[in-house]
């Protein structure tokens, strides 16, 4: 059976993709899962893999051309298979009945009878994916995605025309964050695999019944109280979609500066940046204050037990926020190495979608640009973001005299629907305490 090659949504926000380069030529034999082409999304260069086996019969767009998600860009089929219907573009997919009729010689006269005056066209077949702007999803998949806080555009659809169906949401939920990997080709995806197997092999397989996303261990959803709803509504009316307020604190960095010097003196392997220390402190403070490690989901607030720290990175093309997962459980060295590595690949646009989604809180540092202090814009659905300014030597009044001290200003932007002033302040207090007494981070 012929397999359509579609432009696929290879990033959560991708609406169209530029086919950078075909890696297979027309006439090449294709195995399921083969990389067919490189596609440049709005975020990175990704691989487009075959969803079926056969021969690449037709490439419908050339190298370096752009197609909207869902557009047919090629056909894989048997060498002698008639693919003219597929190439017709608008040709609807055959229904099973139609297939059965076509296959059965006995049914041919029935078709003739059906053409008699009484006949009306049979079941309307599924339309091909012509409206690529809209994510197609079954109502169930839509509901499940909402309940699990997944964006449908982050979920790869495996139904007809790329429809997102239940098994896709289940696969995405069990492989957070939603990555394009769990497509049929990825036999490692526990839920997608059984569903896709029969397509590839023609053999029957069990229905995928994936376990529902287990969020109990990693997060808890708390329905909004009436008071919380009122606060959310009134504040949102006042300020816009995300009612934000800002808390600024100036932190004494003497201890951090000393710490870095001492570590550097122990060898190059122990060199850490100020930002690494800040990330570590923020992660530990978030672990202590889960009320700030939260997502606003409209009907619920999701408090995360795990700390996935987003780190804003400026690239030539713009801002991207790679994620250091479980940052609170990682040492300074690990945070430093991982952060550096992610930032490097971010600048090369080589990040995979799962590396820049799923953060529970973000940090933006413009200190290296000499910015004293600024306010950062919250990355929804996160509830807060910390803006970090430069560490500067400033006079501080201490014991009856001005003393020069390295000082750093941080500003916490808080979504007031989730975080009230005092809650944000307490979190910031912990950050300050950890940075001013960095040995506590050893504890």
């Amino acid at each position: 059976m012929a397999t359509k090659v579609m432009m696929e949504a290879l990033s959560p926000t991708m609406e169209e993709g530029r086919l950078a380069k075909w890696l297979k030529a027309e006439g090449d034999t294709i195995a399921n899962g083969d990389v067919l082409a490189e596609v440049e999304t709005d975020k990175a260069i990704m691989e487009l893999v075959a969803r079926g086996a056969g021969v690449l019969r037709k490439r419908l767009i050339g190298d370096d051309s752009t197609a909207p998600v869902g557009q047919l860009i090629g056909v894989i089929a048997e060498a002698d298979e008639d693919i003219s219907a597929l190439l017709g573009g608008a040709a609807p997919e055959a229904t099973p009945d139609a297939k059965a009729d076509a296959a059965s010689e006995a049914s041919a006269p029935v078709e003739a009878a059906a053409a008699a005056p009484t006949a009306a066209p049979a079941a309307p077949a599924a339309a091909p994916a012509e409206d690529s702007g809209r994510v197609k999803a079954s109502p169930l998949a839509r509901r499940m995605a909402t309940e699990q806080g997944l964006s449908l555009s982050q979920v790869q659809g495996t139904g007809p025309g790329g429809r997102v169906v239940r098994r896709d949401v289940e696969a995405a939920a069990s492989n957070p964050p939603a990555a394009p990997a769990p497509r049929p080709a990825a036999s490692t995806a526990p839920t997608a695999a059984p569903a896709s197997a029969p397509r590839a092999t023609g053999k029957p397989a069990a229905i995928p019944v994936a376990p529902a996303m287990e969020i109990d261990g990693d997060a808890r959803d708390v329905p909004l109280t009436q008071m919380r709803k009122t606060i959310a509504r009134r504040l949102a009316e006042s300020i816009g979609p995300v009612p934000t307020f800002y808390l600024t604190a100036e932190i004494d960095m003497t201890a951090v500066v000393a710490l870095r010097e001492q570590m550097a003196a122990s060898g190059d392997a122990f060199k850490v940046s100020v930002n690494d220390v800040i990330m570590k402190a923020v992660a530990m403070a978030l672990a202590k204050h889960p009320e700030c490690n939260a997502h606003w989901l409209g009907d619920t607030i999701r408090y995360h037990a795990r700390v996935h720290l987003g780190m804003a990175v400026a690239t030539d093309d713009g801002l991207i926020v790679p994620v250091i997962r479980d940052a609170d459980r990682k040492g300074l060295g690990a945070i430093g190495r991982e952060g550096k590595e992610l930032a490097g690949r971010a600048r090369e646009r080589k990040l995979k979608p799962e590396e820049y989604t799923g953060s529970t809180f973000s940090v933006s540092n413009l200190g290296m640009f000499g910015i004293d202090q600024f306010t950062a814009i919250i990355n929804p659905p996160e509830a807060a973001i910390l803006a970090v300014g430069a560490t500067e030597t400033r006079p501080v009044w201490e014991n009856g005299a001005f003393v020069p001290k390295p000082r750093m200003r941080v500003t916490l932007s808080c979504d007031h629907r989730v975080i009230d002033g005092a809650v944000g302040a307490r979190f910031l207090q912990t950050v300050r305490h950890l940075l001013e007494h960095p040995y506590l981070m050893l504890y």
């Binding site: 229904t95 099973p96 009945d97 297939k99 059965a100 009729d101 059965s104 006995a106 049914s107 006269p109 029935v110 009878a113 059906a114 008699a116 009484t118 006949a119 009306a120 049979a122 079941a123 079954s138 109502p139 169930l140 998949a141 839509r142 509901r143 495996t158 139904g159 007809p160 169906v165 239940r166 098994r167 569903a195 029969p198 397509r199 029957p204 397989a205 069990a206 229905i207 019944v209």
Partner: protein, 326 residues
């Protein structure tokens, strides 16, 4: 528990209800001396006499009208049509008299009567004698339409139909008369309007009624070997329809296929799909598909008739499609 045929189950129901209530009588072509064209009324003439088991001329409209009159004066007629194809001639009495009498007389006249006979295609009876009429009848307010699939349901539902004070169209199946099933000796009555889960499953719901329930069950057996767990919901009554049962099952399985004997357009399945989209919209993972007779008069030729009928392979194909496995 005794295993008896569908035919015998109907015969038992008739006999028990005629014995229970002497207002009940059976009238139709060949029901008495010949013992019924399909022997459903076997032995009844001998047991209840010719006043209560009445042979009629070939006059469907006439004897259906006699039944309506009898019901109006307090009897409880059972009008047998040799097949529902022949009942077309009597539809004016069924639709315009029986179904509307209570309404048009401001509730003065109940219509405690049953119209019954075999429905749907048998084998090579050709276009005029191979039709499933339940969607026509179910369209009419004032009628109840019962389509039992098993001997157990046939007996329990026929007893309920005879005891009902409203006109009930009771659709049997020529191909069902010889099917067998367990039927208890003790009395039981199955309420009209209640569907039954004939087989439990959680991957897809096959919604069916009458003869096609057996097709759905066979399809479910075959699919079970591939690990696909079908729930088979037997509507048993298509009017009033058990929307609650449909909703509960489809909300559980998220997918549905309707299997029916009749044609597609305005068929019973169309009504089922309407209920499903209204009550289960947010639970659906795939469009609901229907398996039905092809949109053409039933061919006489054996191979063409087979191709035209809904069957197990077509049902399996539809199930795989709603599961995105095709």
């Amino acid at each position: 528990m005794p295993v008896i045929t569908y035919r015998e189950a109907l015969n038992q129901a008739l006999r028990e209800e005629m014995a229970r209530d002497d207002r009940v009588f059976l009238m139709g072509e060949e029901v008495a001396v010949y013992q019924g064209a399909y022997k459903v009324s076997k032995g009844l003439l001998q047991e209840f006499g010719e006043m209560r088991v009445v042979d009629t001329p070939i006059t469907e409209l006439g004897f259906a009208g006699v039944g309506v009159g009898a019901a109006m004066v307090g009897l409880r007629p059972i009008i047998e049509f040799m097949t529902w194809n022949f009942a077309l001639l009597a539809l004016d009495q069924v639709v315009n008299a029986a179904a509307k009498m209570l309404y048009m007389t401001s509730g003065q006249f109940n219509m405690p009567m049953v119209f019954r006979g075999p429905n749907g295609a048998a084998l090579q009876l050709a276009a005029q004698h191979s039709q499933a009429w339940e969607s026509w009848l179910a369209h009419i307010p004032g009628l109840k339409v019962v389509v039992p699939a098993t001997p157990y349901d046939a007996k329990g539902l026929l007893k309920a139909a005879i005891r009902d004070d409203n006109p009930v169209c009771f659709l049997e199946g020529e191909m069902l008369y010889n099917t067998k099933g367990e039927v208890p000796e003790e009395e039981y009555v199955i309420p009209i309007g209640k569907a039954e889960v004939k087989r439990e499953g959680d991957h897809v719901t096959l919604i069916s009624h009458g003869k096609m329930v057996l097709t759905a069950l066979q399809a479910a057996d075959t699919l079970a070997k591939e690990g696909i767990r079908c729930e088979v919901l037997d509507l048993r009554t298509v009017r009033p329809m058990d929307v609650e049962a449909i909703t509960a099952s489809v909300r559980k399985t998220n997918r549905a296929v309707v299997v029916e004997e009749g044609w597609e357009v305005c068929g019973v399945g169309a009504q089922v799909v309407d209920y499903v989209q209204r009550t289960c919209f947010d639970y659906l993972d795939a469009p609901v598909l229907r398996v039905h007779q092809v949109d053409a008069p039933m061919p006489y030729a054996k191979n063409l008739e087979k191709a035209a009928k809904p069957d197990v392979p077509k049902t399996i194909a539809a199930v795989k499609q709603v599961l995105y496995l095709d």
